[in-house]
């Protein structure tokens, strides 16, 4: 658990650092553009080179973090249990609880009091675009 907290803290630190680098690089590029207007081309070329490298590194780092974070909800995704009434087709969807299995009896139907059974157990789709 402590390792997990440390890993999350490291992730947030990395995001903060990347954002700071990105912000500083953009500010530097803006400064370079100003010096180009003033005719100081030497300063412009230098700052442009350094700031473009900074922007690229920060963006690459943020992209990699995004890819890592996108895996996390898939691992901790919610699993749902669907209980179905054999008579009136009433469907009850709830969170999976330990001991559930497909075709297990799932109590009485709320509508017709017939016995229900678990018809499906599946992992809920994360609310994001498909890969």
């Amino acid at each position: 658990m402590q390792a997990r907290v440390a890993s999350r803290a490291y992730l947030y630190l990395l995001i903060a650092f990347s954002i700071v680098v990105l912000g500083y690089s953009i500010w530097m590029l803006y400064g370079g553009l100003l010096s180009m207007k003033e005719g100081n081309m030497e300063n412009f070329y230098f700052t442009a080179l350094v700031s473009v490298i900074g922007i690229m590194l920060a963006l690459s780092s943020l992209t990699q973090i995004r890819r890592r974070v996108s895996i996390l909800p898939r691992i901790g995704a919610k699993v749902l249990t669907v209980a179905l009434c054999g008579k009136c087709d009433f469907k009850l969807i709830r969170n999976f609880s330990l001991g559930d299995y497909v075709f297990k009896e799932a109590g009485k139907c709320q509508q017709c009091s017939e016995s229900m059974y678990i018809s499906q157990i599946y992992q809920e789709e994360p609310k994001k675009k498909q890969d």
């Binding site: 895996i71 299995y101 297990k104 992992q123």
Partner: protein, 394 residues
Amino acid sequence: MKVYNSQLIVLEKIREASQLIPLFLSASLPFGQSSDLNTVISLLMYLSFIVLMLFGQKVQVRFMLLEVDGVLKRLEYMKNEAKLLTLKTLKEIGKPKEDPTPELNMMLEQFLISPEGMDPAGLVWKLDHILNVRDMKFKDDVKKIAPEADESQINNLENLIEASQAVNTIYRIVRHFYLLGKRTSSFYIIFQIQMILPLIMQEVDALMAAGKAFSQGQPIGDGIGALVAAKFMRGLEKRKLDRDIVAAETMIEGRRVIPLKAEGPGGNVGKPGDAMRQIIEENKGKIAMVVMVDAALKLEGDKTGDLSEGVGAAIGGPGTERFKIEEEAVKHKIPVYAIIVKESILEAIAPMKKEISDAAELVTTRIRKLILDRTKEGETVVLAGIGNTVGIGQ
């Protein structure tokens, strides 16, 4: 070999392109010929060019080692997480009187020696025997460290330990290549492990998800075959067949259908080959058709949960069960049809996705159509639902 050649061609192209750098520098550096900064940058460029020419491969090796080192740290973390989850589940379900850690450590390092293949005659039966011994020993070892667990929980724990064992083995193999590459500084040793890192990580992610599913007894994607067979069995009288398989009997428009699957809801794949042989012998070979349903790995771009129909024994594993089914089918001239549900490696061993679960209904419709199209009234059909039946009853 092809990959190595193309790598060399790319390096050669980079080297050719880098020869143009001095020309580029003299032509287009914007700082002015007399500038001190220009001289320093030019010198640095020349120096870096020479350094890359002489030590390029060593630099590349260092970068690759850094990447493998990062992945190795992540793998170590995942291996420890998998072990912790296994221990926690063992203690919760099995309620052992003593600390199960030493036994678990021993089980995580267990191995299986495949039979010698110099004389291939009878190889399948030798492998089958070794697998049976391994299964029995593994189950007994689990029972010892989880005395309070019931049969289906024992099966789940067995699968959980196997997932943890797989993560542990992958970690040790990657560490072996990393340390060997570091010690020898061999480009090719490090290159081959670095090349397959994304695939390794994909598999480990899948195993971690599988561990979670087994610890809680949730159905996994691979269980789609068992789920389909269970749909045909629901409400019918079941009987146990050889090696953890259950079967029932039902009628579909005058055809006698015998659905079979591994006994659930514990994590189990059973031995469908042995059960199939038993059914065929009981019916004196008079089986009109065998239909097998299983999950199959999709290609990138294929849609999860899509169905595909074909012929042949749809069953994975070490091959012994497929061999037995094919032997019986040839002996009695029984046609074997297969329906597969497409899914990725991650989806196959992670908790079952909705698309896969929904596909079960489509598969039953397809099976009915296949049976009606290919058999006559009064004939017998065997329907084998292949796959791990964790979280699926019957």
